[in-house]
Amino acid sequence: MAVFVAGMGVITGLGMGVDENFSKLSSCLHGINNYASEIDPFLEGIPVAKIKKTNTELAEKYGVSHNWPLTALLSLVAVQEALASANIDISAHKSGFISATTVGGMDLTEEFFKKYIFDNQKGNKKLIRNHSCGSVTDLVASAIGVNSYVNTINTACSSSANSIILAARLIENGMLDIAIAGGADALTAFTLNGFNTLQLLDNDLCLSFDARRKGLNMGEGAGYIVLVSEKMIQEHKCNKLCKLSGFSNTTDAFHQTALSPTGDGPFRSMDQALKMAQLLPGQISYINLHGTATPNNDLAEGSAIVSLFGKDIPVSSTKSFTGHTLGASGGVEAVFSILSLTRNQLLPNLRFQEVMPETNLKPIIFPESKTLNHVLSNSFGFGGNCSSLIFSKY
């Protein structure tokens, strides 16, 4: 049984909505023009990609409380766009919402802790009410009116790719007709300090898949797609964008925070997705890389790609535009992959100059119009979780 994409929505440091994001991607204009010090004054000189709207602006757009955690606001905005673009009545069918986040309501919890650590009777209790990953999803689920199923995944940076995978499996299993799947993550002092402490950040704009790369830039955002069953497409109950023709979730099992240098997990992830889609490597038109620009990820992912596809396959990391949006990245990049596929545009990898000597992979430098048939998107998370998605024209 096949699963189809009927709609999508996105918000990142590039802007709000699919068209604004695509416009920036096509014009080589990145959104990594904020600084971590805007979130944590102790973190100086660290470029990040914040969304360019205030919490109040986001809340007012859909009439919800501006006291919602930012992750919930980002999620709602992207989900509402996805639903509108799918042209679908979720109340008339078995509908589900599968979201993902690594930070949940942590932006507000951090505020709470500022007072709490000096006096454990201090700190506004309202700030921690929606701390957990699940409660953020729950807020959005109530606002959009899904009727059958709601769940949240947290597998670090592969989270929202795994949401999409679960959604597809629930539809294939007949449990749902429609599923809105993806994820959201706001920038928080917690994750900024976490990645900084791990020395994974670049103090300049990141250099994905470049021999000179030093680390990642962090970003925030949300990306969701509306998945539907074949029956929904056949009965013309929604729009249709493309097919989710293959996916896989596999484990590298090498180290908690690093992939095996040969990219064993990434290789198997892409290979299994291809097998499921019944495609040969040569049929993939473009790979949207996980491409965080850390020395380890890009080497592992690059090595795996060369082993499987050779070095001539078009690849790029759109994290060079949006930064790494952590739990949202799988969803955001699924949207970008579908944009690339349906608008026949290879997306560029900004600031590339020097090939990695180990792989000789040269990413796309300029946006290029080209007929694309199958696009693969990678998401690899801490703990070695490797997920890949393949979107196809049909």
Partner: protein, 340 residues
């Protein structure tokens, strides 16, 4: 295709891990902490030094469950947790929030991610298969179980290590008190739902199971029903109740009331429908926490194996199936398992 539970292990406030119980543990506290084993017997000492408490609990119960299942090849690891690794999250937050001392511990950050337990188990077992972690309120465990069922049905593998874990820390307990979640007066946990009041008793646990498509000598029970409902209508709820009654002939019920008047009112419809059945309120034994239903799952397996000392007084002797019910206002979950 049958779905079997071939291995089970649980660390909780009861003597669940070593099974050395002849009666329930009684506590006079608004907080129940786990009775933990000596982890050195299960985890390498060098590894342990960098592992927080919840990680040790999760890893140990996963490895034990697999051992009890006859150490099968594991095809995937699926976890559920409501709040994740709270201790490490708190450690990192505390350092980060203190302007005078911001030396942060990268290990605490890494270990605070929710999928840490699942991925460490995978690394330890050299398991390169499917791996996912769910964090969705009180149905985190049920969703992990659902994922395992789908994976088995689609032949993604034959054996999935499926489990859930949530921990308490001094900060979390303090916050629960401030949110008025906990009983103000310390009562016996065994009277949690017989003397209803405001607030509940907080608990913690880790429980792992081997969920398999293969029946074996280690098989304890077979999964009958698994339903996770979101804002169901009364009609859908009733239909589910009927399905449960039809599928399970001689059963008793483990139900998730927590002793708080407001929270427990959500159970009244179910309790009324099943009023002629024996209903045991399992949170008496383990306390309240998001993945408490994983403790109930362990408890049900124990009962089906003939170990009924914790569910006394049991008003039904010839049962061969257990129904587990859990609700948190908008979500209702039903799990039923029957003796193999």
């Amino acid at each position: 295709m049958g779905i079997y539970i071939n291995g089970s292990s649980c660390i909780s406030a009861q003597r669940s891990f070593d099974g050395n119980y002849s009666a329930p543990e009684e506590y006079f506290s608004s907080v129940l902490s786990c009775i933990e084993p000596d982890y050195k017997a299960y985890i390498d000492a060098k590894l342990m030094r960098r592992m927080g408490r919840l990680l040790k609990m999760g890893m140990t119960t996963a490895l034990e469950a697999r051992k009890k299942a006859g150490t099968p090849v594991i095809d995937g690891i699926i976890s559920g947790t409501g709040l994740g690794c709270v201790e490490d999250t708190g450690t990192f937050l505390n350092r980060m929030s203190n302007p005078a001392n911001r030396i942060m511990n990268p290990t605490a950050f890494i270990n605070s991610t929710h999928n840490t337990v699942g991925s460490l188990i995978a690394i330890h077992l050299g398991n390169k298969g499917y791996n996912s972690t769910y964090s969705h309120l009180d149905v985190s465990f049920e969703n992990a179980l659902l994922d395992a069922v789908i994976a088995l049905k689609h032949q993604q593998g034959k054996n999935f290590l499926t489990g859930a874990f949530d921990e308490l820390t001094p900060d979390l307990i303090n916050i629960y008190k401030r949110l008025n979640y906990l009983r103000k007066q310390e009562v016996s946990n065994l009277k949690l739902t017989s003397e209803k009041s405001e607030g509940t008793i907080a608990g913690e646990a880790s429980a792992f199971f081997v969920v398999s498509s293969e029946k074996s000598a280690s098989s304890i029970a077979e999964l009958q029903n698994l339903n996770i409902l979101y804002k169901p209508s009364k009609a859908i709820l009733e239909k589910t109740f009927e399905e449960l009654k039809t599928a399970n002939k001689n059963f008793f019920i483990l139900s998730g009331q927590c002793g708080d008047n407001t929270y427990d009112s959500a159970y009244s419809y179910f309790e009324e429908y099943f009023k002629s059945s024996f209903i045991f309120h399992y949170k008496k034994l383990c306390g309240s926490f998001p993945v408490a239903s994983s403790f109930a799952f362990w408890l049900a397996l124990e009962a089906l194996s003939g170990n009924v000392a914790l569910v006394k007084p049991l008003h039904i002797t010839d049962f061969n199936s257990v129904i587990i019910y859990n609700t948190n206002k908008d979500y209702h979950s039903f799990i039923s398992i029957k003796k193999c």
